[in-house]
C-alpha cells in the first residue's frame, strides 16, 4: 500500500491567516483527495486533486477558501485560507495507486484556529 506523509501533523493558527498542508506519497498514484474530519465526526470530501489541472471541489467547498495544487503524481498541497475557528478540524489526504485499488490515507493535520 502507498505510504502517505502529511506536514504539518498539527498546528495552531491565528484567525485570518492561511496554512498550507503538504501531502507526499512514496510512489506515483493515479488520484489524490483531500478530506475534512471535524471532531467526533466522519470524513467529508473537500476535493479531488487533479494532476496538472484545477481541483474538482465538492458542494460547499470553494477554490478561494481551499486552493489545491498537484504539480506531479506524488505530491499535493491544500491551503486553508483566511481561517476562522470553524475551520478547526483534521484535514486528511488520501491516494489511490491504480485501478481497483482502495484509498489509503495519511495521518492527517490537526488544525486549531484561535
Amino acid at each position: 500500500s502507498a505510504v502517505i506523509s502529511q506536514k504539518p501533523s498539527r498546528d495552531i493558527c491565528q484567525r485570518g491567516t492561511s496554512l498550507t498542508i503538504q501531502c507526499q506519497v512514496d510512489s506515483q498514484v493515479t488520484m489524490m483527495f483531500w478530506y475534512r474530519q471535524q471532531p467526533g465526526q466522519s470524513l467529508t470530501l473537500i476535493a479531488t486533486a487533479n494532476q496538472g489541472s484545477e481541483a474538482t471541489y465538492e458542494s460547499g467547498f470553494v477554490i478561494d477558501k481551499f486552493p489545491i495544487s498537484r504539480p506531479n503524481l506524488t505530491f499535493s498541497t491544500l491551503t486553508v485560507s483566511n481561517m476562522s475557528p470553524e475551520d478547526s478540524s483534521i484535514y486528511l489526504c488520501s491516494a489511490i495507486r491504480g485501478a481497483d485499488q482502495p484509498q489509503h490515507f495519511g495521518d492527517g493535520t490537526r488544525l486549531s484556529i484561535l
Binding site: 488520484m31 483527495f33 470524513l43 467529508t44 479531488t48 474538482t56 489511490i96 484509498q103 490515507f105 495521518d107
Partner: protein, 113 residues
C-alpha cells in the same frame, strides 16, 4: 444522494465477546463498499473491499459480509487492541468522481480486558 448509516455509534465489549457492526447504505449502483479502522490520532487504515452481495472477506478476527442493503463487520473473540473506530464507505456512480467515497459516521469500539 448516497447515504451510509452505521450502528451502533459506540460499542463496549468484554475481551472474547463476539459481536457485529452494521453499515446500511442507499446508493444507485454500488461499485464497492469499504471498511476502514481508525485509531485516535491516525488516518483511516484500509481493511476490506466488498463488491457484490454475498461476498465475504476475512482478516484475523474480522469478517466482513455484504448484502444488497447492508454490510456487517463481525468481530470474533475481540482483544483490547481491536479497540478503534470502524468506518464504512461506499463508492457509487452518483458519488461523482470514479473513486470518490461517501463515509458513514463510524462505530467506536472499545474492548475491555
Amino acid at each position: 444522494e448516497d447515504q451510509v448509516t452505521q450502528s451502533p455509534e459506540a460499542l463496549r465489549l468484554q475481551e472474547g465477546e463476539s459481536s457485529s457492526l452494521n453499515c446500511s447504505y442507499t446508493v444507485s449502483g454500488l461499485r464497492g463498499l469499504f471498511w476502514y479502522r481508525q485509531d485516535p490520532g491516525k488516518g483511516p487504515e484500509f481493511l476490506f473491499t466488498l463488491y457484490s452481495a454475498g461476498e465475504e472477506k476475512e482478516k484475523e478476527r474480522l469478517k466482513a459480509t455484504l448484502t444488497k442493503k447492508e454490510s456487517f463487520l463481525h468481530i470474533t473473540a475481540p482483544k483490547p487492541e481491536d479497540s478503534a473506530t470502524y468506518l464504512c464507505a461506499v463508492q457509487a456512480p452518483s458519488s461523482g468522481s470514479a473513486r470518490q467515497l461517501t463515509f458513514g459516521s463510524g462505530t467506536q469500539l472499545t474492548v475491555l480486558p
